[in-house]
Symmetry: C2
Subunit: 457 residues, 2 copies
């Protein structure tokens, strides 16, 4: 059987591969915004047609939300079946004013593609799609049966995906799942991610009087929900030690093995470079842990948004009727979003002033994930990365969440191999997101190599 | 000399008076918003023409900002000269969604006029303009020379008015100033205001990283300016005692005489009704003081606005690069905005985390004001209110600021008589602002009576 050697093919196909990715990024597929339904669907249609054109028979699966794109290669009973997961939806673009170029008019510059979703996740899933395309265009047999699942609701917590995965579980017997939706520690340093943090994301709304009040006429004698919000949020975290003060928050955390802490300590990382890259006067975090440990194996408490009262130019002397915040906690193995919700609600309730009314909504939740470093998938992934990048990879964890990985484990019974192609400075979720083309080419090579390692022969 | 008896005249002129006020409120004269320059000037032109048509020779005085309208009656050397001050600019209207009717399409309902500026300050200054009009239409000699000063920048701290007042000081010798821009304790209870709180209004901007960051990838190892903001603002006030914790904040406050505290205790006021009117689960304020004292003779610390990170629907997992707040303190005699600024800056600087950069801007400042209750103006004002409302008035203070009153004292050397026509539920600065027509009629009667008391004869 012919074996596919991707290097010269990629070289020859570069323009074609890039043009496709630019078309992909051009769709403003912002899943959190109801007004973007039409471009999301257009993006899904486009993906379906692209997959079909490279021998991956694809269709849209309706979910009640944004559709999922599901595609399958020719199925052969003697080959293992791999699920390749990605998402075509993207984060919102605000603050739009901080973008140097239109987030949905991708720009190529200095070996990078700039645009919302270029790295998270369109560029990364594109690497796997292009690997499949190289097999197809050269008529090389695929060493494994491939099922692509590319959803449209990852950035809003994949609320409708479980039934789609359940249906796939009935149709196929998967041996493993491949996801590129994580990151590398730095340029040219490939990495396999064996752990993800979970997430518990809330909105808290505090209400005082039934209307905004004049701060002169009423000030001093009425509660101020914005002030109450600062007191309640400040009480959640010790600014000196970086410890989260919600009672019970740390109780169920599983200890991290010494072997893993040693492995983490061996990952090249410079606090100084990290700090400089972010333009920070100082770093900050939980006492007793390194920066990588703070990002990978420790939970967080972060305010993601604050809004109350007058936010325009100049002065408006109001006591706001309402104050809102978006607040989220990253979770580590042993914690789960439901348990954290109970602790968070009961703590806030215990410190809520009697003059203030409170409403807490769960916006998003995800369980943490951990793949044992002695699992055979880990070795296959490391070898494929080495083949793709030409460099020895490291094992890392990731601070972010890919909630669906938990679903795969529970519904399909399979572990997930996380081979991230993003860089720390890709500005995912921020203005001027970009994707390194070097990682696209290396990603395609890695994908091809991995199919051989996990496939038959 | 004929004396003007306004009762039947007002009855006969009601429609005309109201139509004029409706025209006045219709101008969207929001001074804080640069986009509203044209309607501010149109409003000033309209006022000038209205004054001129009732025998008050008026003109626009350019200030570098929004113009001031200055009008003068015929001047007679044997009559005292009174300055009647008001403002034609209004507060912003946001949140617009909470208005039941268009803020600039005034609606008459149940004896009230609804619209932005109906009470603050268009309706109140209208009472004095209409008093002058009754003298003019009946050919009754004015007992005093009148100078109207109606400015367009009160809601933004009157930044350009001092030169206008300085010019007036050279043109006229004023015996006193009359201002209706304060409030009454309740319907049918007229009041003279002998004290105003000052104001120190700031914007604080905290900055962390040079861009918004993904809360999963970075969370735990980087500072969060929104979190720092909550810690710093929470540190400014003790939520239990209601005491402001900025060191030195209370040091220079002048003690309030026992006579005034007794007078305040005699002002009819119900905590229960106050709480119910505002829809509050509980009242809140500084320990050891009544609600009225908290609003009149004690300083405050209030957050007027918070803004940071993601504020839209759904979830966005960012660590904001920036967090902003608008925060203001109401000041009482002995305090001044410059001194408070020094204390506030140095306190925030002392608690600022090293990882966070901070910028503090002064948005607005005003000194407090106090008129001794034994001053002869007080007696004249009380008598005029009694004549206008037919009810015994009370002496109150006001929690809000009318910064220009300090300027009058310093530049003109005269005290100011504050005869407020607003009610606590007028929703000044909030959605659905309204003005009680009963207070308009009583205000006209009061103004006429006061001119005789302060005038010649």
């Amino acid at each position: 059987m012919n074996r596919l050697h991707p290097d010269s093919l990629i070289e020859q196909q570069k323009d074609e591969i890039l043009q496709g990715l630019i078309e992909f990024v051009r769709f403003p597929s912002i899943s959190t915004d109801p007004e973007h339904r039409p471009p999301l669907r257009a993006c899904a249609d486009w993906l379906r047609d692209r997959l079909t054109s490279i021998g991956i028979e694809a269709e849209l699966r309706e979910t009640g939300g944004h559709p999922a794109v599901v595609g399958r290669s020719e199925m052969h009973a003697d080959r293992p079946t791999l699920l390749i997961y990605g998402h075509y939806d993207v984060q919102p673009v605000d603050p739009l004013a901080l973008w140097n170029t239109d987030p949905f008019e991708p720009v190529l510059r200095d070996g990078r593609l700039f645009g919302r979703g270029a790295s998270d996740n369109k560029g990364q899933i594109w690497a796997h799609i292009q690997a499949a395309r190289l097999f197809h265009m050269t008529g090389t047999p695929l060493p494994a049966n491939l099922v692509f699942l590319i959803e449209g609701e990852e950035e809003i917590g994949s609320p409708h995906l479980t039934p789609v995965v359940e249906a796939l579980a009935k149709e196929y017997q998967f041996t493993s799942v491949i996801v590129s939706d994580t990151g590398m520690p730095g340029p040219g340093q490939p990495a396999l991610t064996n752990g993800l943090r979970g997430l518990a994301y809330f909105e808290v709304v505090l209400t005082g009087a039934n209307t905004d009040l004049h701060s002169g006429i009423f000030g001093g004698a009425v509660p101020n929900p914005a002030q109450a919000l600062t007191h309640m949020l400040a009480a959640c975290k010790d600014p000196q030690t970086g410890r989260i003060l919600i009672p019970g928050f740390y109780d169920d955390i599983e200890p991290v093995s010494e072997k893993e802490r040693v492995s983490i300590a061996g990952v090249p990382f410079s606090d100084k470079a990290f700090q400089e890259q972010l333009g920070l006067a100082a770093l900050e975090g939980e006492e007793g842990f390194s920066s990588l440990e703070r990002r990978w194996i420790r939970p967080t408490f972060d305010i993601n948004g604050l809004t109350s009262g007058f936010q325009g130019e100049g002065a408006k002397t109001v006591i706001p009727a309402e104050a809102r915040c978006k607040v989220s906690m990253r979770l580590v193995p042993g914690q789960d979003p439901d348990g954290v919700e109970i602790l968070f609600r009961s703590f806030l309730e215990s410190i809520r002033p009697p003059s203030i009314q409170m409403e807490i909504s769960v916006i998003h939740g995800a369980r943490p994930y951990h793949l044992d470093i002695d699992h055979p998938l880990v070795e296959a992934g490391l070898q494929a990365l080495k083949a793709g990048f030409g460099v020895e990879p490291v094992i890392i964890r990731e601070g972010g969440s890919v909630p669906i990985v938990q679903t795969f484990k529970q519904v399909l019974g399979t572990e997930t191999l996380l081979l991230g192609l993003g860089l720390p400075d890709d500005r995912c979720h921020a203005p001027n997101e970009k994707f390194e083309l070097d990682n696209l080419w290396a990603g395609i090579r890695t994908s091809v190599d991995l199919l051989y390692r996990l496939g038959q022969g």
